[in-house]
Amino acid sequence: MSVDPLPLTSVEERARDPHAYFAARRAEGPVQWLSEPGNAMPTAVIVDGDAVYEALHSDAYTARGSVSYGRTRPIIPTHVDPPEHTRYRRLLDPLMKHSVMIHLQPHIAARANRLIDGFIDRGGCDFHDEFAVPLPGATFLGLFGLPEEDLDFLLDFKDHVMRPPGETVEAQRQVQEEWAGRTEDYFRSLIARKRGGDGDDVITSLTRAPGGGQPLTDDELVDICFQLTLGGLDTVTATLGHMWTYLAAHPERRAALIADPELIRPAVEELLRWSTPVTAVKRRATRATEAAGCPIAAEQPVLISIFSANADPARFPDPESVDFARQPNRHNAFGGGIHRCLGSHLARIELITAVREWHARIPDYRIADVELTYTDASAIRTVNPLPLTWTRP
């Protein structure tokens, strides 16, 4: 067990080449220690695959109080523990399950094509800004039943709350609080408009009194809206970027997907494992525990490194290699256990639809000759910009 804190300069390496970074960390030990400004205790970074899996399923950790996003209330359901957590998941899981989310598929396909219409004749695009950001944003318009003109606000709020601009921590906090407040007002007004309506969007469904149970309060509904928005935009954007980065560089793999659309689903799973855009989840120990034999104190901040688990050769032979036929592929890109990503079914539908629609229109493309820039702020690893070029049709 390493007790020397990780140097902060390694953060850039972690974003640029996480496979190499985490291989080095795992070689040093199953748990690493990171000093973070503002924290009295170092953060335990769990990098061993089996220990990550165990931590995801352990009741010794909570996400309560882990990130504020400029608010004092929790986001629901991530920041809640059982038994209240169970109640929220039982209300939300039926609304976010596959057979319900699939109804958004035509909407997603139509938006993908509309975005492609906007740049196909140009013979190039900035994939991040022109496709990867607006596609999940527009999906949320469908999910929440929002008008088109609200898209820019949704994206602005999400950016200001997750990556607040500012020279100091205090300045950033003020931006977050201001935008969180503005967004609270927006969501409250949305909930009031949807309540009692007959729409089939997720907000209207949540305002209906669930059978036999307590109706959700306005506060709880706002907390859920924050969760869905913060959980469903940057994550999908990041995943699309990594998938296209790989596919742009491997024409024969692209051709395989076009020739056999049945391959798209397993290809998406393997690209999720390989890229694991939500690289880690933040927790806090509620009692003294241990990870891979390393003692963890009560109140210790913990970073459960899902990327490292999905890159652990003990779990995935030749982990840096992308193999669409990898068997088995039991990865944790959507987490696991009780906090398994609520939006995972919607995310997969978005990713599969995006792959299919894009490659039907633009089968051949490459990355323009630039060095790609990676960041992993808020533990979401993103490639931005991603300039692509193709022969004009």
Partner: protein, 64 residues
């Protein structure tokens, strides 16, 4: 052989019912429901693949 899903372990990833809709259904919460009855032929191999890929190790193939 019979297919069994341990609902206490199932977290609703949905890989099984997405990949093998003849063997698994989706319940109200997006958790998996195993098809009842005897598993035979190609179903056995598919069931094993589903089990191997379950991130929660929630799928079991039991002797009848």
């Amino acid at each position: 052989m019979r297919l069994h899903v341990d609902d206490a372990r199932c977290a609703g990833h949905g890989l099984c019912y997405a990949g093998f809709p003849d063997l698994f259904g989706e319940d109200d919460y997006g958790h998996a429901v195993a098809r009842a009855g005897e598993l035979a032929g190609a179903d056995v191999k598919d069931a094993q693949t589903a089990s191997d890929n379950c991130p929660e190790a929630a799928i079991e193939i039991e002797p009848a």
